[in-house]
């Protein structure tokens, strides 16, 4: 558990259009150790998925462009690799599963066909062997009667089974890192529980590291060791799940944690909510991106971008008021209007 499997430093991704440039990711930093599960949380448009696709180098270019930063995977900067070299890493070492299993499977090919394709892409084996391997994969991900199911089309599968098939494709080459982009958002709670359980099991047996992108903090508490909170394209806070839950530092994290509906909220209580909506990323952000929605904001927040500093070992935050001497204190009821 010593060395980092992956580290991302100061990643910037921008998308250009004729009239403006959107800085979708603006200074993301993260590290991931072997076998670790890292959760990336944030609202839609906060740059979670763009970070993941940048990591896989699947950003459509143009209009997208990785304008700055380093992505070190096993010590190699992925941004310096050629397309061919990247292809051998993608799928083989880093695999990805997406939110919507229906749109990521091709409806005109059988499920088996698509798993075999992935296997044969990376291993020099015959079709027959690949088919046997695909059946074994379907069995590991818990699909009943895999010999029969392998010749079925995606539309004959239910949502949960499709996501299982996606996991089978992703894990078919034993990747070291699995990126799961909202893998359970489109699924029912009961099926979500099944899929999360499956991912945990497979992680145990294969020693895979997982990056879990989600907006559901419940999933993070369930699955992850560490967590990164993103807002408007930047990382605002990161640390172990225990620290972030017990001792969150950034006002956005406070708002995010408070606006979760838990069983403690009484019927007559008002839910805490973060007022307003995220900033327009087409306009350059001068100060802290959260300033317009932050109930604690002061003069400096409008003009200066806060640095992402290590407040305590392993716990980073980007807020102006996190000096050792004067730390921002959380007040009750700040997010209830």
């Amino acid at each position: 558990m010593s060395e980092n499997l992956l580290s991302i430093e100061d990643l910037d991704v921008e998308f250009r259009s004729s009239s403006s440039t959107v800085k979708a990711v603006n200074g993301v930093n993260l590290t991931l150790k072997k076998k670790e599960t890292l959760g990336i949380v944030g609202e839609s448009g906060s740059g979670k998925s763009v970070t993941a696709t940048a990591l896989m180098q699947l950003i459509p270019s143009p209009p997208g462009k990785i304008s700055n930063g380093k992505i070190l995977f096993n010590g190699i900067d992925l941004l310096t690799l050629s397309k061919k070299e990247m292809r051998s890493i993608r799928g083989n070492e880093i695999a990805m599963i997406f939110q919507d299993p229906m749109t990521s499977l091709n409806p005109v090919f059988t499920v088996g066909n698509q798993i075999i394709e992935a296997i044969r892409q990376h291993k020099k084996i015959s079709k027959k062997e690949a088919r046997l391997e695909a059946i074994a994969m379907l069995k590991t991900v818990g699909i009943p009667e895999p010999e029969k199911r392998i010749d079925m089309y995606p539309h004959e599968f239910s949502g949960g089974m499709r996501q299982r098939a996606m996991i089978a494709i992703a894990l078919s080459c034993n990747p070291k890192l699995l990126i799961a982009d909202e893998p359970t958002t489109a699924l029912d709670v009961t099926v979500q529980a099944q899929i999360l359980e499956l991912m945990k099991d497979l992680q145990q047996t294969n020693d895979t590291a997982i990056i879990m992108i989600t907006h559901d903090l419940g999933v993070v508490w369930e699955m992850c060791d560490n967590i990164i909170v993103m807002y408007a394209g930047t990382t605002v806070e990161s640390g172990s799940v225990e620290t972030i839950f017990k001792n969150p530092l950034h006002p956005y994290t406070w708002g995010l944690l408070e606006s979760q509906i838990t069983t403690d909220v009484q019927h007559n209580e008002k839910l805490p909510a973060i007022p307003g909506s995220p900033p327009d990323l087409r306009k350059p952000v001068l100060g802290c991106p959260f300033v317009d929605r932050c109930p604690y904001s002061e003069e400096v927040c409008h003009t200066k971008k806060p640095e992402y500093i290590e407040v305590e070992p392993g716990h980073f935050a980007a807020c102006h008021f996190q000096h050792e001497t004067s730390r921002l204190e959380k007040k009750e009821g700040m997010f209830v209007d």
């Binding site: 099926v191 979500q192 529980a193 369930e222 799940v241 606006s259 509906i261 838990t262 839910l271 909510a273």
Partner: protein
């Protein structure tokens, strides 16, 4: 909380599966809603929960007669809606409005917010142009937007704002009942809380009755007074939110609740993981619909369908265990 405003009795909706052969009568049907009865009382929020495909949304559309039931009746304030003519149903719909899941798809992108919110008034020929405009501005203020938003188009708004516009439109005709079909599922957590707060305060202000459909069990617990749990077109359990969440009776309710993700990283939860998927509503299993996935299955479950029986006042469950 005593006046019954909506009463559904043995409501059924079977969608026939069309045979590719012409002139042949279809023999199979999707039993989307298969015998559902419930009461909704004035001023309360009734939650309907269940997995996708269990018939929640079909039920919503049956209530305000957007589709007509195969059998059974829906009574609104004592009048059976199915027996009414189309004109009378239209006027009844003034009092039963709907808010849909996808805030994007439910707003016409070519219309301004003003014409979207005023549309119900135009349809029902209420007021003059001036008075309609006044009402639109009033409604925008009510849902937390400003009157200068009236001339804009839907694409200029965020998801949360669009849902506010949908809510404003549902309020236009001063309805008694609003059916909310997954109103916050498409929204982010922080925005979700804003919209839920809005729905709650509107309910108090205008004495609204909500039928709240959702698969997010935490949202339902917070919003609803009573809850009906559906499985494969049938209600398997009803009760107050305390009864359902603190003392769930039906094994399906138990499994559903145990599948809610943890509230904090330290929580240890006893989890019932259901095997397999929801069976097809074309050929539901014999006996209890749930028996193939039920951890407490007995012999009787395989053949005899359990009836919805009352355990306590209002707390009903359909299971052979009770």
């Amino acid at each position: 909380m005593t006046e019954t405003i909506i009463k559904a009795t043995n409501l059924k909706k079977h969608f026939p599966i069309l045979d590719p052969m012409p002139f042949k009568k279809s023999t199979q049907s999707v039993k989307a809603v298969d015998g559902v009865s419930f009461d909704v009382f004035k001023g309360e929020t009734l939650g309907i929960v269940g997995e996708s495909g269990c018939g929640k949304s079909t039920l919503a559309r049956l209530i305000n007669q957007l589709i007509s039931p195969t059998s059974g009746s829906v009574e609104f304030k004592g009048k059976d809606l199915a027996s009414l003519g189309i004109k009378e149903i239209r006027s009844a719909r003034k009092s039963i409005q709907m808010v849909f899941q996808n805030p994007d798809a439910s707003l016409d992108p070519r219309k301004t917010i003003e014409s979207l919110i005023a549309e119900p008034l135009v349809i029902h020929k209420i007021g003059t142009k001036e008075s309609r405009r006044k009402r639109v501005h009033e409604l925008l203020e009510i849902v937390g937007l400003s009157s200068y938003h009236a001339s804009r188009y839907p694409h200029e708004f965020s998801g949360g704002q669009k849902q506010r516009i949908n809510i404003a439109r549902a309020l236009t005709l001063n309805p008694d009942v609003i059916i909310c079909d997954e109103p916050v599922s498409a929204l982010d957590v922080s925005v979700q809380a804003q919209v839920i707060n809005l729905l709650k305060s509107l309910q108090k202000e205008f004495n609204l009755t909500y039928i709240f459909i959702s698969h997010d069990l935490n949202v339902v617990r917070y919003m609803c007074d009573r809850i009906a749990v559906m499985y494969l077109g049938k209600v398997v359990e009803t009760g107050t939110f305390q009864e359902i969440y603190e003392d769930p009776k039906h094994p399906y309710t138990k499994a559903l609740l145990s599948a809610i993700p943890k509230e904090n990283p330290f929580e240890q939860r006893e989890r019932i993981i259901l095997k397999g998927d929801v069976p097809s509503p074309v050929n539901p299993p014999t006996g209890c619909h749930f028996h193939k996935r039920c951890p407490f299955v007995m012999d009787i479950c395989k053949n005899t369908r359990p009836e919805l029986q009352e355990l306590n006042e209002g707390n009903k469950v359909s299971c052979h265990l009770y």
